[in-house]
Subunit: 497 residues, 2 copies
């Protein structure tokens, strides 16, 4: 049976209608829905993995892991939503002597959310990814603009969510899936059109700076501006201090090479630059890194566009003045494969040439050699906003270079001590989002249950009878959540009114 | 001794330097500072009140109340900051079996904040008002652009804060105070210049739509966009349902008249429009309201600019087609005085004429008569974002008109049941901020301790030794704050690492 074709305006309208329904759901109901989506995705088998493999060239073990992560996201966000943490319920009881009313506040969904699929995570950051899970957890309907690089994968995931919508009897507009480039018969991009649509109230995006910034600008120029949560990547610098470099040059080289080439370097937390003060230890690091990189085979990148950008940007940076070749994979790359390469430059050149701080999406690392710590500090100061900054050091190093630590705290969302930045845990304490241009809004994370916060706003009720209050705010606390009552955390009932 | 004159760039630079210091303060230290500011303001005597009275024409009892409120704001925000609520500390302990690292996150100040003084609250929303208190609570230095309407009052308040900065030995740039219109020798407004300044990281503003929107646009067009929290007022509609109108027409008229004319109508929560279905009860309401308004004397408005805007906008709305005169204060107004007036129109006219939904800042009320509830619903649907919406009704009214309630929930930050919207309590549950254009960011409040949230961002630490972690995240929990440890709320120490 053919469905009548729904227009983009139609999807927006359906989402707005579904929002009226979702407003009436409790956190417990939304959590139940989210667990059902997790189960449904978990049950998707070989067809999903094989389709994604064909569309993204990502190997099956990686895809299997990403699928498990996606399921985990739905479940952990569901638990967080059910806990009431994101309701942020506050109750101030009346004080008739002082003429103070009864005021209660909790978080409600912000409205329909437009989610863009990301090229490099066909499951975890796409159609059924963290943005969709967190928006639904917040009580917001979702319209997904599926990524063209994996449209069949996107459709399988969309169908899974749609099945759960039907199973729960929720409105169709709870979740919609749109594919394609342009609005029919126009040269307006679908994503731009929906971002500008008055019924869309927030946007989630993971991708390039230019893509994210374009959406951000459209959203701010609307008659009613809306928030855009665009995670736009960064170069994730590693600063290695002298003592650790002296102690661990070879081990650090191995770790850096592994992180830089993981997933053919196609992670937004890929450590694209490595900064240290020159000297014998840095030379040891370089030699060991050259050996590592030489032995790491090229591998297929996600798609032709990403491959050609990688080639172009790798060569752009490699051909800058005062940039020297250090090493490259010894295996020749086939068309479409990312061939790992390391270049090096002086801090002086880096400070003078903005091109050198551009992200190269893929397995490309730039070593920056500072003459001394004053210059290394200048490099830190000049950095733009980053998702992560890694400090490799001993405790003594950190004590000695506290000024560097103070500076990098302003530049990133997540600071690592030793270790490497790839691998973004789905936990409460995760911060995935850094000062602009790493993301458009560093006050929020796109990974971890706190991602839900992006899509809520507080709504206060003054002097409402208990029967009309949402469950989160009722005297009896039927959801048994933690609330702040007269300024004090409490999971108890309240007895006024 | 003459101080060398500091330029605007100099103030921004001082603030950036002070931020490096404030980053190292704990929540307990900032709370102590805030209590000291509260004490200092509390000790300011007749000179402050008399200066403010001269500059704003606000009566002394009102100013005395506002001063107490301002002191209360500093203290209640200090208590909230000290409680650790806004640190939002989360700790996920390592799991070596699963290869998971130790990740901890807490909120840090976003950087130097530019605060604009508001004309209508010389204490509570100006130099030493809620924006300044919440920014400092968040760990952010503040540059205040004092309001020209009360520059001497502003200077007294600024001096009080500066004294506390000196007393604590904190950097001068912790708090700066700027007066004037334009950058010397240019036609660039000081506020615009500072909003565009790369070292300024957020803006707090309370005032007109045009002022707030201009700052919002400047902030979004920066190379690094920054958040602007502009509270731009609204018309705060009151919807009165049939049963309550029948039962309480005269009482409601008294309450509405009192709220509408409180402080010469110069509140952003002033209930500028009143909507009900026509009929005998609405006629009774109108007669009673006319009598009330007739007896309320005009009073001096804050300044000439506000008075002339009031006159202009009152007449603009009064002279629209199908707008009928209902009542006016029987006392003639002197130059500069706001003379209360009530007009009425049909819902049909209101729906067709956008001018009628414009805010008139001052004691002006527009009654909207709907033919029936379908039309009243249309009025609700057409409303722009509001700070508040008030529902006057019995429980039966609410049950009968749930669709209206559903619609107004999307349009406001605070929903009142009976009562009137003027009077914004400084409590946790307060939401002062509504969907655009009531404010630029409805996800935050500018009143109540939650105002602090506007000026923080999360910063995550991965695998850092305990000695380098901020107090909020240390194993020993030296601040004894509530944290979320492995997903569970806890005020205990953690024992790993």
């Amino acid at each position: 049976m053919d469905q009548p074709k729904i227009t983009l305006d139609g999807y927006a309208q359906l989402a707005a209608e579904a929002f009226q329904f979702l407003k009436s759901t409790t956190i417990a109901q939304r959590a139940e829905f989210m667990f059902a989506v997790a189960d449904k995705i978990e049950a998707l088998g070989a067809e999903l993995l094989e389709t994604a493999r064909q569309e993204t060239a990502l190997p099956l073990p990686r895809l299997t892991g990403e699928k498990a992560r996606t399921v985990y996201q739905w479940r952990s966000y569901a638990r967080a939503v059910a806990s009431g943490l994101y309701a942020e319920a506050r109750i101030d009881l009346p004080d008739t002597e002082k003429g103070k009313g009864d005021i209660r506040k909790y978080n409600v969904g912000i409205g329909p959310v437009l989610v863009f699929g990301a090229s490099n995570f066909p499951f975890a950051f796409s159609t059924a990814g963290g943005d969709t899970a967190s928006a639904i957890g917040a009580g917001c309907p979702v319209i997904v603009k599926g990524h063209a690089g994996h449209s069949r994968t996107s459709t399988i995931m969309a169908d899974a969510i749609t099945d759960v919508v039907s199973q729960f009897g929720w409105p169709h507009g709870t979740f919609s899936h749109v594919l394609g480039d342009h609005v029919e018969g126009t040269n307006i991009k679908i994503g731009a059109y929906l971002t500008a649509h008055p019924l869309v109230k927030a946007v989630g995006f993971t991708g390039s700076y230019w893509g994210g910034k374009a959406l951000f600008d459209i959203a701010n120029q609307r008659e009613q501006p809306i928030p855009v949560f665009a995670e736009m990547g960064s170069v994730n610098p590693v600063f290695a201090f002298s003592q650790i470099l002296e102690q661990r040059a070879e081990a650090l080289a191995k770790e850096y090479a592994a992180s830089l080439t993981l997933g053919v370097g196609q992670f937004c937390t890929n450590p694209g630059i490595f900064v240290a003060v020159k000297g014998a230890a840095f030379e040891r690091f370089k030699r060991a890194l050259a050996e590592e990189i030489s032995g790491i085979a090229p591998a297929m990148m996600l798609n032709k566009g990403i491959y050609s950008h990688f080639e172009k940007n790798k060569n752009l940076l490699s051909n800058q003045p005062s940039v020297a070749f250090i090493a490259e994979s010894q295996t020749a790359a086939q068309e479409g494969q990312g061939r790992p390469r390391i270049m090096a430059t002086s801090a002086d050149s880096f400070l003078k040439n903005d091109v050198l701080s551009e992200e190269v999406f893929g397995p490309f690392g730039l070593l920056i050699e500072a003459d001394n710590y004053a210059q290394l500090l200048d490099v830190a100061k000049q950095l733009k906003g980053q998702l992560t900054i890694t400090v490799a050091g001993t405790s003594e190093d950190v004590r000695e270079h506290q000024t560097v630590i103070d500076v990098v705290k302003d530049k990133a969302g997540r600071l690592l001590f030793n270790g490497m930045p790839t691998g973004v845990e789905v936990v409460y304490a995760m911060q995935h989002g850094g000062p602009f241009p790493a993301s458009t809004d560093p006050r929020f994370t796109s990974v971890g249950p706190d991602a839900v916060k992006r899509f809520v706003r507080p709504l206060a009720f003054q002097n409402w009878p208990d029967e009309f209050l949402p469950a989160e705010l009722k005297n009896g606390n039927p959801l048994a959540i933690h609330r702040i009552v007269n300024g004090v955390a409490s999971a108890e009932k309240v007895s006024h009114k």
